[in-house]
Each structure stands twice: as C-alpha cells, then as structure tokens.
Amino acid sequence: MKDLFTRRRIVLGAGGVAVVAAAGLGGRYLLHKRYAPSPYDDLLSRLDNRDADAQIGEAVLANIEDFDAKSVSANVRARLQHGSLSQIVSSDAVQGHLVEAKGWVIPETLGLLCALAAKAAA
C-alpha cells in the first residue's frame, strides 16, 4: 500500500487550497459592487443597500429645493457625532424631523443619507 502523504501530494494539495482561497477572495472582491468615490463615503457606509437607498434618495430630493450635498453631508456628519444612526433617527421621529419619499414618511437623517446616496450615484 502506497503512502497517502507523499511529498508530491502534499505540495499539490496545499497549492490547490491556496488557489481556491485566492479565487474566493478575489471573486468576492470582483463581485462586490464598487462605487465611484464620493466626498461622503463615510456616511454612505452606514447604509445597507446603497442602490435601493438611492431610489429613496431620488424621491427625497424631489421635495427638497436647492439640495447642497456639501452642507448636508457636513450637517449629517455632525449629527452622527452625537449617537448611533439608530439613536439619531429615533430622535428625529420624536422631534418631528421628517422628510417624505414619494409619500413615505421617514426620519430626516435617514432621508438625507439616502439623498446623498442618490447624489453619489448620479
């Protein structure tokens, strides 16, 4: 009976594992949707689904005249220094800081994040 753990087999096996691992990591990198950089990527990273959220953002933007992404992003960034996104949007609701997206009543900070996602996707 031949020895299963020949030097040749060990080398081939290790090589195979390395190839599969590299393919997996690379594929994941290749499959992950990449977005053009924007000045507010730090904010957009808080969104789970930027494409879907950009749709919401388009609807939010339809109700906001003179949307200035730079000042809005600074404003949102400042808000998020005071707590988690969950805390900030809850506070928005309590205080009545709301925006509409094609009729959907959503917390203002979430709406502005979505609007920034829409701007970034434009």
Partner: protein, 499 residues
C-alpha cells in the same frame, strides 16, 4: 294598536289638528314619536314613503349638482319609513366636547350648546340604535394584555372605538322603520301617515308662526295639517328644500331672513386608500380591521386625533380605520428595509395595510343648495347643489396622517406612506359618508344660524328642526347616535313647551 294610515286613502280636504306634527320618519322622527308616547300630546308623524323602497317616491329626491364631484342626490339617501337607516352601516360614536366649542382656527365654529346638553340623552339614543352597552370611553383604558392596541407612544393620534348598531333578530344595523313600526303602532297618542308628502309650510301673515302644512300624495290626494307645533326631520337636504320652497309669505323662504337656509352644507369626505400603514412586527389585533364582539358590544378600533392634539395643532377632526393587507412596491420595500435597519428593528414579519378614513370639512357658506328651475312630481322646486371642498381640508388630514407616521417611527412600531398629495389624487379616490349636515345651522345669533339652541327656527315660535341639518360644525364621527340624542333632547323641550 293602530295601523299606519295610508295618506292616499285620506279624504280630499281633510284637516288634521294635532299638537305636534313631525315631518319625516327617519331615525329622528321615529325616536321623537316613541319618546312622546303616553304623553297628553296628540302627535302626527308624516312620512313621504311607505314601508319599502318605491322608485317614484325616491325620484322626489332628484336634483342637480355643480362644482366638485359629489354623490347623486337620489343615491345618497332613502325615502321610506326609517329613512337612511335603511342603508346605514351602523357605525356609532358620540361627538367630542371640542366639536361644540368655538375654535379660533375653525371659521363659523361654536354650537349654542355643549356636549353636556346631550349627555343625558346618549344612553337612550344608544339603546334606540341598538349599539350595545356604552363602552366608548371605558374601551380607551382597557389593559394592553386584554385588548392590545397599536403602540403609538406619545403624540396626537390615539386608538378609540366605534360601536355598531345591530337590529334585534338580524345581522343588519337597526333599520328604524322595520324595527320600530310595531312600537309606533302601539303609541295611542300617535297617528302615523305614510305616503304623505309635506309640500308647503304655511306661515301666518305676520311670518312668525306656522299655521298649516300642505300634504300631498303621488296619487293626487291633498289634505292639511294644522299643528300647534311642527318639527322638520326629513334630513338636511329636504329640510332646506321645503323651507326655501315655502316662500309664499316670505320671499326668501321660511327662516331665511339672513340667507342661511341651504348654506353650509357638508358631508364627511372618505378618500379611499388614503395611506399605507406598515407594522414592523406584523401584529395587528383583529378588531382594527373587522368588527368584533367585545364585552357585549360590536366594536372596531380606529385611530383618531386627540382633542389635545387638535387644540395644539389646529387640525380638523378625522377618523382612520385599518382596512386590508396590501403589498408594497419596490420603493416601499426599500423604504421599509432602510427605515427598519436605521431604527435597529426587525422587519422580517412586517405587514402593510391600506387605511380608510372619514374627515371633517371646514364650514363653507358657499357649499350650498339653491332652488332650481325644475319641479318634482308634486310641484316642489328641485334643488341644485353647489359643491365645494377646500384644499385646506385635505391638508389638515394630511398633517394628521403625518403625525401618525411620526408616532409609528418614534415608537419603532412601523411607518406610513401618504398616498395622496395633490388635489386630483384626493378627488380621484373620493367617496362620501352620506352624512348630510349644516343646511339649517344652529347659532344663538339669528344672523349666524337658522335655529337657536332649542332647535327652534329663529323668529318662528312653533317651528323646530331636528337632525344633522342643525350642525354648525361637523366633526368626523358618524352622526346617527348623536342626532338621535339631539332629537330626544328636543322632545323633552317640546314636552315642556306644549304642556
């Protein structure tokens, strides 16, 4: 027991001389007639229709409409014994005290009496409507473990309850004609005439008293009633018509010296699918969507603006009901996912529902009835309705819906979509409550109201009006139990006056 008298068999030229004539045997007229049983007063109840629907009688309601879309004047009411309770949905709820108050943000508001004047009469009205034990207020404080309500946290919207009429031995709401016909026949001091149409209110030459009522049948009979006192109880449209058309002594019509009769007409707009409600956990007690028997009453929960919120934010009244489960479109799914994620709540079981509503409108003197050129089969001028609904009325309700959406988010319970914004969107899905109100509004000042606090027509000592037509403002709740309470209050007043 005496049968109803078919007016078509009354000899031509007959003159009846009762103490009191009640014109119209709907819920108001029937409730008053029953409440006057076993009094020394001889009462005549005059009903245009018979015991069942008749197309020729119903056609007497025909009229014209201009302006914003509204229901056909024939289709929105019923002309036979029992009146519009023959087609009502049985929804009952008393008005809030705020409805009666003069409010700075509500033009033409302020009743000549408060809710306290009606409170003694609500229990009896509830019994007549067969709406079960009086649970409206008690239900608001039922424990959550017993009757869970949608968690809304602090804010303007609260869960409140409707109760429902159910006719004895029936699954239908109480049809007052069918239900109380035998009771009416047992009232010894009452004579009920069917197929009897009052075609003219005859004023004395001084214009201060009603001397006689002309009555006609579609078969061509005519007779007169000369009562000591008359109550008009035919509904807000026909009351205005008869008062305007009875213009042989006073050209503007009866009680119309200040050009108020027929003005301020109102109904409750019911925009369909007005909003979409999403509950994150998908849990909704069944009594929000369907009537349920609870503690012996048939009940349904709704969402209402509290009196405190209405005072603080100057919004009109409304009632919101949860109707049917519905599906979300792609944007709705995205909004739900993003909002739930941002709030940190699980929405894997989220369920969406369409919302129904009834909303209050602002009193408007130019939403009115006038006499038209055509005449009906009895020779009475037909009516023309000038219908209007203000954008601001929709805006008030949208503000209230937004408050509901805010509370849902703040309590991490759910979220809301407002389905209508532009006027065309509201009108496209607009239905109506068939609650005709306002055409002979009550006010202490004859320049501002047709009737006074006792529902007596200003300046005419023996003419009274009962029913929705006296509403100066309209609230948003279904009127029947309220107008029956008002009728019972008027009955007590008349018992004293005619003693």
């Amino acid at each position: 027991m005496s049968a109803f008298i078919d007016a078509r068999t009354v000899p031509e030229g007959t003159v009846l001389e009762p103490d009191l004539a009640i014109v119209g045997a709907g819920p108001v007229g029937i409730s008053m007639a029953l409440a006057l049983a076993n009094t020394p007063l001889h009462v005549v109840l005059l009903e245009s229709g018979g015991m069942t629907f008749d197309a020729k009688t119903q056609a007497l309601y025909d009229g014209a409409e201009v302006g914003d879309p509204y229901l056909s004047l024939q289709a929105s009411r019923v002309r036979f014994m029992g009146g519009s309770t023959n087609i009502w949905g049985g929804w009952c709820r008393p008005m809030d005290s705020i409805e009666f108050e003069e409010r700075s943000w509500m033009p033409h508001s302020g009743w000549p009496f408060g809710v306290d004047a009606l409170k003694p009469y609500y229990p009896r009205a509830q019994v007549l409507c067969e709406a079960g034990p009086w649970l409206y207020e008690k239900a608001e404080s039922w424990p959550q473990e017993e009757q869970p309500t949608v968690a809304l946290g602090d804010g303007g919207m609260v869960t409140r309850w409707f109760q429902f009429s159910k006719m004895r031995n029936s699954t239908l709401p109480t049809h007052f004609g069918e239900r109380y016909a035998e009771d009416l026949k047992r009232v010894r001091n009452l004579s009920t005439y069917i197929h009897a149409n009052v075609t003219r209110l005859g004023l004395d030459s001084g214009g201060a008293k009603i001397n006689e009522l002309d009555v006609a049948t579609l078969s061509g009979r005519h007779f007169k009633v000369k009562p000591k006192c008359t109550v008009l109880a035919m509904g807000a449209v026909e009351i205005a018509r008869l008062m305007l058309a009875s213009n042989d002594v006073m050209a503007p019509g009866i009680g119309n010296a200040h050009d108020l009769v027929g003005r301020f007409f109102a109904d409750h707009p019911i925009p369909r699918d007005t909003a979409t409600l999403v509950l994150f956990d998908g849990k909704l007690a069944p009594y929000y969507m369907h009537n349920q028997v609870i503690h012996g009453a048939i009940m349904r929960a709704g969402l209402f603006p509290s009196e405190k919120y209405r005072r603080a934010d100057h919004v009109l009244d409304s009632s919101i009901t949860i109707e049917n489960p519905t599906k979300l479109d792609d944007l709705g799914q995205a909004a739900l996912a993003a909002t739930a994620s941002a709030l940190g709540v699980d929405a894997s079981q989220a369920t969406a529902y369409s919302l129904g509503c009834g909303i209050e409108v602002t009193p408007d003197p130019d939403r009115r009835f006038t006499l038209d050129t055509g005449r009906d089969a009895l020779g009475i001028p037909k009516l023309k309705l000038h219908m209007r609904i203000a954008d601001s009325d929709f805006a008030h309700f949208r503000k209230t819906l937004t408050e509901l959406g805010r509370q849902l988010l703040a309590s991490r319970t759910g979220m809301l979509r407002l389905n209508a914004k532009e006027r065309g969107q509201w009108l496209a899905e607009l239905d109506w409550g068939n609650h005709h109100m306002g055409t002979t509004r009550a006010h202490v000042d004859p320049r501002k109201g047709v009737v006074d606090g006792n529902l007596q027509v200003h300046g005419i000592s023996n003419l009274f009006v009962a029913g929705n037509s006296v509403y100066p403002t309209y609230g948003a709740v279904n009127p029947t139990v309220n107008l029956v309470a008002m009728a019972l209050r008027l009955t007590d007043h008349l018992k004293g006056q005619l003693r």
